[in-house]
């Protein structure tokens, strides 16, 4: 019997559970390595070569090279691990979050200044409830 996933119908949201964790293990461990300045320097010098040191799938490596955070999360990446990549790039959490929404940086910043994304039925997934 598999475990319940009552969180599967929340729109625009990946819950990092045990299945995602297994899928993303090597991707996330690569991210952890960027907590050392020497590793960040080696990664920046030759991203492909550095990624090839890790047992990641080609898809995961490509998603990192593309800085496609939604794709990385679909492939098991967790946002707190992935944060090491955009921190290495000198970019903020808000920058990274904006790229995941399809909004421009300005549009996203303005949405946050106006009180953030509103929790309507569509965003909470309540419409799909019984």
């Amino acid at each position: 019997m598999s475990l319940d996933k009552p969180y599967d119908n929340i729109p625009g949201t990946v819950i990092f559970d045990a299945d995602m964790s297994r899928k993303g293990f090597h991707l996330n461990q690569f991210c952890m390595s960027l907590m050392k300045a020497d590793n960040r320097a080696r990664f920046k010098a030759d991203e492909k070569a550095y990624l090839n040191e890790w047992k990641m799938t080609d898809e995961q490596k490509q998603a990192v090279l593309d800085r496609d955070y939604n794709r990385m999360m679909a492939l098991g990446g967790n946002i707190y691990f992935l944060a090491k990549i955009f921190s290495t790039d000198g970019l903020s959490f808000q920058y990274a979050a904006a790229t995941m929404t399809g909004m421009s940086q300005e549009e996203y910043r303005d949405m946050m200044l106006a009180g953030g994304r509103k929790p309507d039925n569509e965003s909470t997934g309540d419409q799909t409830d019984e």
Partner: protein
């Protein structure tokens, strides 16, 4: 005997730490956040806690995917600020209280809460940003800190109920410690926010304000709220709010709220902050 004199809750947004470290705290955007802590800094300068028992979550800094403890108590002499990918925050090393921490671990484990004991770890923004918000930028932190790291990275985090009950066990442990120490318990993280995916930027002011009301006046019922409600209504990272319930469980049933602050936004997040008198 030691006494828990107050509880504090606060968000621990990393950008708040960055704003302070880079001297941007006087910019209007950030001034609006720091304004909510002016009272708190004065208050804590008078209170002079000996020890802060600080509940936070590690953001894949001390704990990678190799080991994911649900509850981990720090029993070390000191904790260095973690390098989260842009160098460590320029803040003082955090001094621990190994004797009291070990006493709490022993007491709480014997009360059926199986804590993981950590004798060496770095601490990330989850722990250092609350210290900066409450103490500003001193050369040394003015108190000892006992970190309690809670897993909210890999689903499932502990339930709100479990957190609340753990708080009660922690209280019993602290108040059975022989030395006469003034102890505060802090619960950090939240409020509503989602950092990932197309729904990033979710903020739920109604949820947050209701949570602020109920954690003061109705914590027992609030602690029964299921995970799914947090995730749906307060965003995938809003689940951090279960950590506030550890703080609340460690206080009296009736507490006096002496400060409340709520502000949107700090980066992607709603900032919430409470000070509760436990005397």
């Amino acid at each position: 005997m030691s006494k828990i004199t107050a509880g504090v809750t606060t968000s621990h947004v990393p950008a708040i730490g960055a704003a302070l470290d880079l001297g941007k705290d006087k910019e209007p955007y950030w001034e609006a956040v720091f304004k909510g802590y002016e009272f708190s800094k004065k208050w804590i300068a008078n209170e002079k806690p000996d020890v802060v028992f600080l509940v936070y979550n590690d953001h894949a800094s001390a704990f990678s995917q190799e080991i994911i403890p649900t509850f981990a108590i720090g029993c070390a002499e000191e904790y260095a600020p973690a390098d989260e990918g842009f160098g460590p925050r320029p803040v003082p090393v955090v001094k621990g209280h190994p004797e009291m921490a070990s006493h709490i671990a022993q007491s709480v484990i014997q009360d059926d809460f199986d804590l993981t004991i950590v004798n060496k770890m770095d601490v990330d923004h989850g722990l250092t940003v609350p210290l900066s918000l409450m103490f500003g930028q001193p050369d040394q932190w003015p108190c000892k800190v006992i970190p309690l790291a809670v897993n909210v990275v890999q689903y499932p985090p502990p339930s709100g109920r479990r957190c609340y009950m753990l708080g009660k066990a922690i209280r019993k442990a602290i108040e059975s410690y022989d030395d006469d120490l003034n102890v505060q318990v802090w619960g950090t993280g939240g409020m509503s926010h989602q950092l990932q995916g197309p729904r990033a930027g979710l903020i739920n002011q109604e949820f947050d304000n209701d949570f602020l009301d109920r954690i003061v006046n109705d914590p027992d019922e609030l602690s029964k709220m299921p995970h799914l409600d947090y995730v749906k209504k307060a965003g995938s990272e809003g689940i951090e709010l279960v950590m506030w319930l550890i703080m609340r469980g460690a206080l009296n049933d009736d507490v006096e709220q002496i400060h409340r602050f709520y502000h949107v936004p700090a980066s992607n997040t709603a900032v919430g902050h409470l000070i509760l008198n436990n005397r």
